[in-house]
Symmetry: C2
Subunit: 210 residues, 2 copies
DNA sequence: AAATGTGAAGTTGTTCACAGCT
DNA sequence: AGCTGTGAACAACTTCACATTT
């Protein structure tokens, strides 16, 4: 029975908030201080009515006849998304994908700090061009505790994914970005976002046939 | 006015087809030949009514009182998804992510063959543990032509993404898996699936706050 | 005049209830 | 009896139309 007030905000609206945020940053960099829903919506690839509706889920931020204050909207969104302060993240499973994510500069840019990289056999993982040391799974609880980690990126093989997820949750993680192609079963209070490359490709494949 | 009959199939249903397919393969490996919508739905993490509805978008495949023939359903789905034969794919932009995808074994497993890897400066890309040679962008049209490539994975920096997408489309690509965090504008007949790591993280971040 | 905010209408997707096979 | 297939009810999300504010 938690997130009562929040549940009524469509999940898709929250995704769009991220898009708006990116567009707003571009506008800000171009020295633009005020933007109408019409213009921002176009930049984000949505209808202006949808943008306005999305924003009203969180309050009223515009000035009628004028539009929205770019800086203020950015503030508001990053507050609502919880990206105002650096969010600590661990990456578990340093195979090809895990390694790529470790050296992905985007994390820091978007307000996430990778505070740990873990693998069952850390020695196997040539850490590549990343400076982060890969640690064994035994260190996981320590690091999660020390940095108050709430978020994990899961790149282990599908066979290990559920077990590792269970561990993460036990140690206090409440949000998992799951790259393993299986359906994780987790308690209600844990949020899982799945990224499944094979599924995306198969989906595209469908649309190729006419 | 194309895909008239297909447009009415919800895109989400097509994604779920991929999930069902994976579950069915697991069942098949366990020597199970027949499955009810109830059981398969549970494995896929959906309601049984939804599974049945999804399948009826494509026809009738079950036997009342009995269930579905596992093998036959697998056949049907792979046919509808267009994964019966190997689908050729090119990867453009061999940075960290591109390199990871190049050495990702999942592609072949799921019916996709990477027939080319491209980058503006191929020499920069230490091809890592993959055996595939990285080629310069000039080779792109040749390879697309030679292998009848319809699908591309786009891993270039956001500033280059639109331009490269335009090229791909010009050369005949009609489906793009886009990792660049921008909204690509493409003609109607081209399908784009976006994967945006930052957005997924931000989205999770929202759910961490209670 | 210009642009937001929002109830109501419309659209899309999901679940129910049950008829219809095997 | 058991389980699929499906029209109808329902729920979620999007778009419209317009009242409201600056």
């Amino acid at each position: 029975m938690k997130k009562v007030a929040r549940t009524e905000i469509p999940r898709k609206a929250i995704y769009r908030l991220s898009v708006y945020s990116r567009c707003l940053h571009r506008l800000e960099n171009n020295g633009i201080h005020t933007v109408s829903s019409e213009v921002l919506a176009k930049a984000a690839g949505v209808k202006s009515t949808q943008l306005r509706k999305d924003l009203t889920y969180f309050g009223q931020f515009g000035t009628r006849g004028l539009g929205y204050d770019v800086k203020q909207l950015i503030e508001m969104i990053s507050e609502r998304l919880g990206t105002k302060s650096l969010q600590p993240v661990v990456i578990v499973g340093i195979g090809n994908l895990g390694r790529a994510l470790l050296s992905y500069r985007g994390f820091a840019q978007e307000g996430f700090e990778v505070v740990g990289a873990f693998d069952v056999s850390p020695s196997r993982c040539l850490s590549g061009n990343s400076s982060m040391k890969v640690q064994s799974m035994e260190e996981l609880p320590k690091i999660i505790d020390k940095h108050f980690v709430k978020m994990a990126v899961l790149c282990v093989p599908p066979t290990a994914a559920q077990e590792v997820a269970n561990q993460l949750i036990e140690y206090g993680v409440v949000a998992i970005l799951n790259f393993a192609p299986i359906v994780l079963s987790v308690p209600d209070e844990v949020t899982v976002n799945n990224i499944n490359l094979a599924m995306e490709l198969e989906n595209l494949s469908y649309f190729i046939n006419e």
